[in-house]
């Protein structure tokens, strides 16, 4: 049976979600999305220029992709809600919105409380809400109760390429939260994306590590492959590891 992610009312085969900022051109971004066979892309509404004939980023998103507009730039729940409503006006075909509420321009860490408020409001308005958050089990459950389609804990700060520094917390979330857990932000290499999938995350979202790679098109494909491998490993069931060699029966061998 095909392994599909059931999320936001859709069934998704490719568990690599891709962010669209920081590319050196829209054409290159499109090639990277095509190379990864991406199905979910997130676009900052602040960058969408619907009135432009040549500069509208949405025109460069491959047709098979679901566009998840995000609220980049929102500093509180009220701004996130306003941006989400504007997003729906621009892209009525999709009710997916990624909530980003960031009041910290130094580390770009999210404000979980304001994110929760926006999630409550927008879920009630019929959006499929994808909240970006600092990993926290209680808050993730509250997001779920508020109607979130998933939770998106960060691996490390946006753009840092430092990998999954929040591993312990994300692993607990993946185990305990009943909606998909998608690691968003900070993943610097395909192996780190693979690691997230092995932990049991439902998907990962990557932007910077692809966009500023020497060859973004190949890097997108590499991430896609790694995510697929990690997912397959998770489903196969990883053998538990150990730091030492294991004698087969150290305590009961005498009974033989």
């Amino acid at each position: 049976m095909e392994d599909l992610l059931d999320i936001g009312g859709k069934l998704i085969a490719n568990r690599l979600f891709i962010g669209t900022g920081k590319f050196s051109s829209y054409a290159l971004m499109r090639s990277a999305l095509e190379s990864a066979r991406a199905q979910i892309v997130t676009v900052a509404l602040r960058r969408v220029d619907a009135g432009s004939k040549t500069e509208n980023i949405l025109d460069y998103i491959p047709k098979q992709c679901v566009i998840m507009l995000n609220t980049s730039g929102a500093r509180n729940a009220d701004e996130a809600v306003r941006i989400a409503r504007l997003a729906r006006a621009i892209s009525p075909a999709s009710n997916w919105v990624k909530i980003e509420v960031i009041r910290d321009n130094k580390y770009l860490l999210p404000d979980n409380l304001e994110t929760l408020k926006a999630t409550e409001i927008l879920s009630q308005e019929g959006f499929a809400v994808f909240p970006y958050m600092s990993p926290d089990l209680s808050m993730a459950k509250r997001m779920m109760d508020a109607g979130a389609a998933c939770v998106m804990p960060l691996g490390s700060p946006i753009g840092s390429n430092r990998g999954i520094k929040t591993r312990e917390l994300v692993e607990i979330m993946a185990r305990e939260v009943k909606i998909p857990v998608i690691v968003d932000a900070g993943l610097g290499s395909p192996s780190e994306a693979c690691e997230c999938m092995e932990l049991g995350c439902a998907a990962v979202l990557v932007n910077t590590a692809i966009a500023i790679a020497g060859d973004p098109v190949n890097m997108a494909k590499a991430f896609s492959d790694a995510v697929g491998a990690g997912r397959r490993a998770y489903l196969a069931g990883l053998a538990s590891d150990s730091k030492q060699a294991n004698p087969s029966s150290p305590l009961t061998g005498f009974l033989r």
Binding site: F23, R46, R47, D49, E55, R75, E79, N105, I212
Partner: protein, 371 residues
């Protein structure tokens, strides 16, 4: 507490002696610091940094790519008025200068806005000479109403306001403030600002904090290079940006590094800033504050702008005019003089093509009106 208290700690600091004693090894150590401190900025600005500029440039380039990606935001200035109550020694709009004074009517603002936005630019920076009497806040707000129909982001570069007035213009639709302190040295400030309300050093210095408290989204600082020892000025500019980042963490902080350009008047720079110095300034600011926006205006020529780009620049102006109504309105030939001369006269399409050729995405829209 305001930045002035932080400034006072270094006001009488022995800069010359400190800068000359810093070694290239100390500069490289500063560039590797995980969390940069004021001492690291001093090192990055020292003459010894010139000996390792290429290594520092690589670091600055990598940081810029990581935090801002391969994109450059474009904007253009729009001059509303050249009436001014001040007598700044270095400025063409000096109240004593015998130039034709002009202020755009709202109809002319509309025409300018339509022309500029037809180039695709979504970010506008409106400027005026500093005259509260001729360019009152009511006029500025009327202009904002017109501009909101054309632009996704509006920044102002006007006389400093009080806290309530900043909150008012934010409510009206302004999201960015540009305000140069010109010089952080109080004595030099006093000497180059001969008369007018701009003589109030502290009111100007506190303006970015008042705007940030009033809900502005971005603040762009600047020191006019040439008025004083540039190393000192950039040190205080960097500390100012850091102070704002630390205290107003939801506001995007940026900096401009304008060099004094030819203008009407006899003022000559007292401290020359070479191209090499300018490169060092960008590199030092980038390493000191990796998320700082850094703007490069058309004051600099096209070749230099292109070469400085990868060192840390995040915003560039394009298709600029420093004349009131410079995009659509012509007054009596050339008698409406510019505030200063520009060097890079390329239009928006040419700048976009240049950026694309250099592997950068030109960003024409990066915000939206929420009200």
């Amino acid at each position: 507490m305001s930045y002035y208290q932080a400034y006072l700690k270094y006001k009488d600091f022995p800069f010359a002696k400190t800068f000359s004693n810093i070694s290239a090894q100390e500069v490289m150590a500063a560039s590797r610091a995980d969390k940069t401190a004021a001492e690291d900025l001093l090192a990055l600005l020292a003459p010894a940094a010139e000996d390792c500029l290429e290594a520092l440039a690589q670091k600055a380039h990598d940081l810029t790519k990581k935090y801002f990606g391969k994109s450059i935001q474009l904007y253009t200035p729009m001059y509303l008025s050249n009436y001014c109550d001040n007598q700044c020694a270095y400025c063409g709009f000096n109240a004593n200068n015998q130039i034709i004074r002009k202020q755009l009517t709202l109809k002319e603002v509309e025409a300018e806005a339509a022309q500029i936005s037809s180039t695709g630019l979504g970010h506008i920076l409106i400027l005026s000479g500093e005259s509260r009497e001729k360019t009152p806040l009511t006029y500025i707000k009327d202009c904002i109403k017109v501009l909101k129909r054309h632009f996704s982001s509006i920044s102002v570069e006007i006389y400093p306001l009080n806290a309530d007035e900043y909150a008012q213009i934010v409510q009206a639709g302004v999201d960015g403030l540009t305000l140069y302190q010109e010089t952080y040295d109080e004595k030099v400030y006093e000497s180059v600002h001969k008369a007018g309300p701009k003589k109030d050093y502290l009111f100007r210095l506190g303006a970015p904090e008042r705007a940030a408290s009033g809900g502005i989204r971005s603040v762009n600082l600047g020191a006019l290079l040439g008025l004083n020892d540039w190393r000192k000025e950039i040190f205080f500019l960097g500390l100012h940006a850091q102070y704002l980042q630390d205290n107003f963490c939801d506001v995007e902080i940026g900096a401009s590094i304008p060099r004094l350009r030819p203008h009407l008047g006899k003022f000559e720079p007292v401290n020359d800033v070479s191209d090499r110095n300018l490169a060092q300034i960008i590199i030092a600011l980038r390493i000191f504050l990796p998320r700082l926006g850094i703007s490069l205006s058309t004051r600099e020529d096209s070749r230099l702008r292109e070469n400085l780009l990868p060192l840390g620049i995040t915003r560039m102006s394009a298709g600029s005019s420093t004349k009131v109504g410079g995009h659509t309105v012509i007054y009596d030939g050339d008698s409406n003089l510019p505030q200063f001369e520009i060097s890079d006269t390329r239009d928006v399409e040419q700048i976009k093509a240049m950026l694309a050729a250099k592997g950068y995405q030109p960003v024409l829209k990066d915000w939206m009106q929420l009200n």
